[in-house]
């Protein structure tokens, strides 16, 4: 069996997604246990993606394949999956990795279906044990974990962002080769006709390293400015509980929980969030959880690593001030 790992590296907004870099780093760590061979990164996109392609070598890619054309500059799952499946067929890797971002979770299942192979979505464990892939993924938004086996080659796996660390000692650029595209824009049944960027430069919730989430304790949408001020000092992204999204205080794309986004940041602040199961399910894999709630019996304190019992309207502004001081 071929032993190389192929990473479909997502490039968006002028740079590679952090999750993509994590996948390349993970691939370079796994490759020896899979019998060595290349760690190949596949970049699909426009001219800017191609210009950045070589840099994937820094995270351990030994070669980069660039499938870049103007008509691929905007994400299109139909097109990207077809390009990726063609490359996988030609390369015959043992393992295909994709970051489990929204776009990654759009492309990966289509690649698996095109190749008729197994697909493990949004995994939080990926290792080689006894010569075989050992894969685990949360189900029910983290209320249970499944050990998963895949049949067929290659195994297609999407990896939850913030699961794997980047390389501590980044390497050098990798050689880039162009992929000959077997089809063109005219062969597609879908096309992107407009893209409206969100009016924010914040990191997406799913990839954020620090998240400050607010719940009903905020008492009204106007009070989220408190969290935004803290988030600005921390370089964090603001999230929300389902209760406040349902109340129309925050947009649905800010929602953390089983019916919203599942996040795994290094640091998660739950402010004025009681900790309903459906919210806990979306953030329980966070590496460090801080809760601020005036109810000392709130369930959120059971999952929090650190808590402050108190009125968030006093605690949060103080926290913003103290963080400001520490930064000086």
């Amino acid at each position: 069996m071929a032993s190389k790992v192929l990473v479909i590296a997502e490039f968006r907004g002028g740079k590679f997604k952090k999750g993509a870099l994590e996948c390349v780093a993970a691939a370079s760590r796994l490759a020896p246990a899979l019998g060595g061979g290349d760690v190949t990164a596949l970049v699909i996109g426009g001219a800017d993606a191609k210009a950045a392609a070589a840099s994937l070598g820094k995270q351990g890619a030994t070669r980069v394949l660039a499938a870049c054309a103007d008509w691929l500059a905007e994400f299109n799952g139909d097109a990207y999956a077809r390009v990726a499946a063609d490359v996988v067929r030609a390369e015959q890797p043992a393992l295909v990795l994709v970051a489990a971002t929204l776009d990654g979770k759009d492309v990966a299942p289509r690649v698996a279906a095109r190749l008729d192979v197994g697909y493990a979505p949004d995994v939080t464990k990926l290792a080689v044990e006894g010569g075989k892939l050992a894969i685990a993924r949360p189900l029910y938004a983290g209320k249970a974990y499944a050990n998963v086996t895949l049949a067929g080659a290659p195994a297609v796996v999407s990896v939850r962002p913030n699961t794997f660390a980047l390389l501590e000692a980044p390497g050098a650029d990798a050689p880039v080769a162009d992929v000959a595209l077997a089809f063109g824009a005219g062969d597609l049944k879908s096309k992107v006709v407009a893209v409206e960027a969100a009016k924010t430069d914040k990191v997406d919730l799913t990839e954020a390293e620090v998240i400050v989430s607010g719940g009903r304790g905020l008492k009204g949408p106007e009070h989220f400015v408190l969290l935004e001020a803290l988030a600005a000092e921390l370089g964090a992204t603001v999230g929300a509980s389902r209760a406040v999204v349902d109340a129309g205080w925050r947009p649905h794309h800010d929602q953390v929980g089983q019916t919203g986004k599942t996040v795994s940041p290094n640091l998660y602040f739950a402010v004025g969030i009681s900790g309903a199961i459906q919210h806990l399910a979306g953030m329980a894999t966070s590496k460090c959880i801080v809760a601020v709630n005036k109810d000392k019996d709130a369930p959120i304190f059971k999952v929090a690593d650190y808590g402050i019992v108190g009125d968030l309207f006093d605690v949060v502004p103080r926290m913003t001030d103290e963080v400001k001081k520490l930064k000086k």
Binding site: G77, Y145, V148, T149, E196, G257, T259, F301, A304, K327
Partner: protein, 255 residues
Amino acid sequence: MRIVVCIKPVPDTAARIKVHKDGARIDPDGVKFTLGPYDSRCIARAVALKGAGEVVALAAGAAAGEAEAKKRIKDALALGCDKGIFVPDPAPENRDPLAVAKALASAIQGQGGADLIFCGRQATDDQALAVGPMLATLLDLPCVTDAVGIEVTGGSARVQRAAEGRVETLEVTLPAVITGQRDIGDEQYPKLKEILAAGKKPIAEHKVEWAAAKYAVAGLVPPPEKAPGKIVGEGPDAVPALLNLLQTEAKALAL
């Protein structure tokens, strides 16, 4: 238009999920199942779009079991679907999404295809987000995931996709597969009359040879136990101590 909405019974998101003592599945005891929260919103949009056509609710591979799946098809009928199709599954636990997609594709082809196929963006149990895109691939149809809006004009549709940090507008030829986000349609609560009428709507069975699984669950384990957390203190005066712990003990705060 003829529209198929693929549905799945899932545990209520407020349910306490425990791993069954056999280690292979969740313990269904005391777990209340519902129609997937995204599925019902897709139904709302499908019913609004169908015009003179029909909306078919299709369920396959439901781990909750056959009786539960049929109840949820009834829910879909009460929300305005015209008929149901059920694909029996002898081994529905932890089904491979690809096998489910193959069963759905077979059922859709078996009933003469569809102009539009909806799936919820995710089932809230296995959260694979895989069946919709896989189904589209198997049927060689275009697919838009995470759709928050759709307008149909003749043989094509304009679909808004809520991607990360942006909203895309795509134009797709029909038939197409759309996976619906929360904003694809409104939450609906059927009236008693509609619930009663649902009892009279037909539910057909479509039998398939289930494809061999390419994805299998070797076992379920509960989430890792967490050590109890520390209440640092009360009120704003606890903030400096908290930040100190985050920096020195948890090493989670780098400023």
